[in-house]
Amino acid sequence: MLSAIAVLGAQVLKGLEYFGELSELHLRTLVHLTRGNVEYRPTVEQMSSVGVSSLPIVAVTMLFSGMVFSYHVADQASLLGASGYVGWAVAETMARELGPALTAIVVAARAGSAMAAELGTMKVTEQIDALRTMATDPVQYLVVPRYLAGMMMVPVLALIGDVIGVTGGFVMANLTAGMTVDGYFGSIPGNLEIWTVAAGVIKAIFFGIIIATIGCHQGLYTEKASEEVGRATTRAVVYCIMLIYAANLVLTVLLFP
């Protein structure tokens, strides 16, 4: 019994320590950002790397999710006699929920893991130490560009994902329920509010920050052994997904009161 409490206590302490480290890294990143310590080249490189590497998977994921979702909705809607609202229902769900959340999960798996692996390798091979000897703060040179890339590219990808998902939804509604372009897309403009789309973008910004911070933290705190890089990479993805879902709940409640 006592040992169980001790184990639990140790886990709680470890969790607190983890969030402490994460907050410290985030704070240091913000300090560099407010001082304008942003290096142009690595930032552009990271933005293109995050955007380009994740776009194909985001597209595929969102296309099929939109199709599946629309299939269910079209079915229910015809039962309720609400077929005129299928396009809007898909678009609303994409913008509120599926677009940001699914995109973030995909980016976490693709780019968050890459951040952890790359920084972890740099840590193990003393490249991070080499940066420090050249009077360069690794947070400024490595984390800030990834933070900006996550913060800016996840919303962009989520918006692209929204569009692809809605389009996939149309293909499915057309194939199974014979919906027309007008019948599907026509219901969106009058019903979907711009705020809904904006709220999804705000979520995506937070998810991007979570992905970059966790990915970089796992990389920078990798222990000096090559097998640790693999572990750090896996941990980065797992922690990202958990934190994204938790943040999604909080953000949903705050943004859609």
């Binding site: 790359e118 091979t125 490249q127 080499a130 050249m134 009077a135």
Partner: protein, 310 residues
């Protein structure tokens, strides 16, 4: 100092007078071959303030005492050697000197300022006048050789891209790596990476350069050239070099003073002649080779473990 004045790594005429002790320069890359005996060094002035003053440092890593009560001073312009067995804490000591790690106890004064008390911003200010060449090179593997060397200048607004590439080409030629500008570290051999990392450490002409095993992994000719280069750079720019090496004969050849790290502490500190004259068993073994010293410990041979006394 102008770019042409910096182009010093050619044998200057006055060196020829002293060339008797030196081997003939190799014809193929003779232009860059620097016999180490050919560089004339001025005596070091040790009356002023030391550049580095290491005071009673202890380093404990994960409960293990790696360095115990080590003190020494290094004066400006010196080439200071550190020797010791594998695992004796040489790399650990170098990391302390540039503030990568903080000692558990003790002070490290760089130009009178205690760097153990500095935060990362303060350390970065101090590190602008330091350079370090890592034991395993630590080149940035996402960048070409030239980008690695030019890293410290990447944000400099006062130099044109041409000046930067000129400086990079000059440094790469100093370490005999001309023509590798566009190659990635993964495509270079270990010794080549080592030489690029030396060029990278020298990019900003630091006042203090720390070399961790600069010549390990190099063939004897290249190893001799690199030690010659270190001596030449230090002599020409007046910079201070701290050099860790297993290659004792090279160290004895170029260092002004050196120390022997053993058993977590400093065994002996002095000039190469002091080292040669020392009758401390461990120093003797290092300086004169394993077979020559008096050994009272177990010494493994191909035929098994024998007890050697005297």
């Amino acid at each position: 100092m102008s770019a042409s004045e910096r182009d010093v790594i050619k044998i200057a005429p006055e060196d020829e007078a002293d060339a008797r002790a030196a081997p003939e320069p190799l014809p193929a890359d003779g232009e860059h071959f620097i016999p180490r005996a050919s560089v004339q060094r001025q005596p070091i002035d040790r009356s002023g303030e030391p550049l580095l003053s290491i005071e009673d440092i202890h380093q404990v890593i994960e409960g293990a005492v790696i360095i115990h009560d080590v003190s020494f001073k290094i004066w400006p312009g010196e080439i200071f050697g550190i020797m010791g067995m594998s695992g004796s804490g040489k790399t650990t000591l170098l990391r302390l000197l540039i503030g990568l790690d903080k000692p558990t106890e003790g002070r490290i004064l760089f130009k009178g300022e205690d760097i153990t008390q500095l935060d990362e911003d303060g350390l970065n200010r101090v590190r602008k006048s330091m350079g370090m060449c890592f034991q395993y090179s630590a080149l940035f593997d996402s960048m070409t050789a030239a980008e690695n060397v030019a890293f410290a200048w990447r944000n400099r607004k006062d130099v044109t891209p041409e000046q930067r590439s000129e400086r990079v080409a000059q440094l790469l030629s100093m370490v005999e790596m001309s023509g590798t500008e566009d190659r990635m570290p993964a495509d270079l051999s270990g010794g080549m990476r080592k030489r690029v990392s030396i060029a990278r450490a020298l990019m900003e002409e630091p006042e203090l350069v720390l070399y961790d095993e600069p010549s390990s992994g190099l063939d004897p000719v290249m190893s001799c050239n690199i030690t010659g280069l270190i001596k030449k750079v230090s002599t020409d720019t007046g910079s201070t070099a701290v050099m860790v090496s297993h290659d004792v004969s090279n160290l004895l050849g170029i260092c002004d003073r050196m120390l022997m790290l053993h058993d977590r502490g400093v065994q002996l500190i002095g000039t190469p002649d002091d080292m040669r004259a020392s009758d401390l068993p461990i120093v003797h073994r290092f300086v004169h080779g394993l077979g020559a010293g008096e050994m009272t410990e177990h010494c493994s041979t191909p035929t098994g473990v024998i007890d050697v006394v005297g």
